[in-house]
Subunit: 290 residues, 2 copies
């Protein structure tokens, strides 16, 4: 899906979230805001939000000299998630539908995000676990398709929820490849954060080759495209992956919280809604035309 | 006071408030947002927020073809305020300190604003009247200075609160000149709205000659500068007037709600705080150096 006019404001607000972390002083903050405005005025908006976002964060990295402003926050999120892991694992193991419970915990973890509508105090209480009823719930279809799948690719999203993704992957009976961003972008998981989240113990870890905060097919490495082509099922986590992949024909399921108005409207759900969705463009195998 | 980095985000958010009113369609909204970003990237930020704001709103007027997007909303605000007027007048007349009560109602009305932190449903209940204790309260000093004043200039702010300003002006024992913006800008009162607010019956109405959402001395008409020079006391209402005039030497009192972080921080108060403040640069007469 393409960016909407509201994305201008959201993207500019993210600049201030970065300067809030880096605290580069008044003059540099002014400069970053001004240059971000110039970038937003010039850049092609006939793209998905993660593609625009990638360019914006690269600009901010260049201006600030910090390629990974959320480095510390990513580690803290993972530590916090690990503190919850034993309790959540017990929840999963004692559930009458372990897979569903694990999936819901993984989905609830998608609240951790420093891009769209950042939730910095997601762990203040455990309310984030209460998803209520899902806005879109294709769980039954997913279970059917999982039953047929021998090779699953899981496209990760933010550092921290990665630990909860592990809980879900532990319950999958087949081979899982877990994909991360090639380089740091916002608080998204890279190889480093995936390892800290214990994902290497339950899945094969790979980089998508793409730095955007979403899987931009055109930017993925040829090796990763081959992995996607071999997948019987691709679980795409988070808004960014949804925005980049909802038009792509392939065995996609989307697992996300619709954090912003734009995505919620596109999906026809209320903002904040939790979603397990079989792709409208579902095909048994990835099918790329370019 | 000069604009801060946060003003970039606030100004861009105001573009969406305008498109929310005008509903110019998706493509035009994208264009207005994009051009506003370009403007923010180029414009001189070593100015007061109202000076930047004036240029931004002129750009939006040009792009949209609507020089007065808040025209209807201004009239509605005035109508709503008139509905409250009789009740508030009784409050004032039955008060042991009528002037103070009238001033507080005028100050409470400063919550009506479609620029900074817009409050569109200010009349949903009458909570807006409960100011609590003022964050800065120079009322006693004001009463002293009012006692000596023969000619008072009141610099108006938003349409709607103008009706409550009338309540206050009714209690002043001397000649009052009420100044409005030269042309429509955001929801600020122009001559038309001042007349609809019944201000012509209690004060001499003049235009400042300036279109900014604040009184920019350099943009005022020579006639208006002469009026200011003759004033024994100048009551400047709202953030915009404060931002433009707090450095100017003259008999200024500022009456405002500190609606945004930037102004609140500058004043050392909490956002939302209500303020009656004698200017730090108070002099008996306006003194301009340019």
């Amino acid at each position: 899906m393409q960016a909407e006019s509201e994305c201008y404001l959201c993207l500019l607000s993210q600049v201030f979230r970065v300067t809030g972390v880096l605290k580069p002083g008044k003059e540099q903050t002014m400069k970053m805001a001004r240059e971000a405005c110039g970038f937003l005025a010039r850049t092609n908006f006939n793209r998905t939000p993660p593609e625009i976002s990638e360019d914006l964060y690269k600009l901010l990295a260049k201006l600030s000299g910090h390629p990974d402003p959320y480095s510390k926050i990513k580690k803290e999120s993972i530590e916090k998630a690990w503190q919850l892991y034993p309790e959540f694992k017990e929840l999963v193991d004692s559930s009458s539908d372990s897979l569903r419970t694990a999936l819901e915990i993984s989905l609830a973890g998608n609240v951790i995000d420093f891009g769209a509508n950042a939730t910095q105090d997601w762990l203040k209480d455990k309310k984030f676990l209460n998803l209520g009823s899902l806005a879109i719930d294709d769980y039954k279809l997913l279970v059917e398709d999982l039953g047929r799948a021998k090779k699953i690719v899981f496209l990760g999203d933010n550092a921290g929820e990665t630990v909860f993704d592990r809980l879900f992957i532990e319950k999958l009976p087949c081979q899982v490849v877990y994909a991360v961003r090639e380089k740091p972008i916002i608080n998204d998981a890279t190889m480093e954060e995936a390892k800290l989240s214990g994902l290497a113990e339950v899945a094969e870890l790979v980089s998508s080759g793409c730095q955007a905060p979403g899987t931009v097919i055109e930017s993925c490495s040829p090796e990763f495209i081959n992995i996607l082509k071999e997948a019987d099922l691709i679980m795409a986590k988070g808004q960014g992956n949804f925005e980049c992949l909802e038009q792509v024909r392939g065995p996609f399921y989307f697992l996300l919280k619709a954090k912003c108005e734009v995505v919620a409207r596109y999906l026809g759900v209320s903002p904040g809604g939790s979603i397990i969705m079989k792709s409208k463009n579902f095909t048994q195998r990835l099918s790329l035309q370019f």
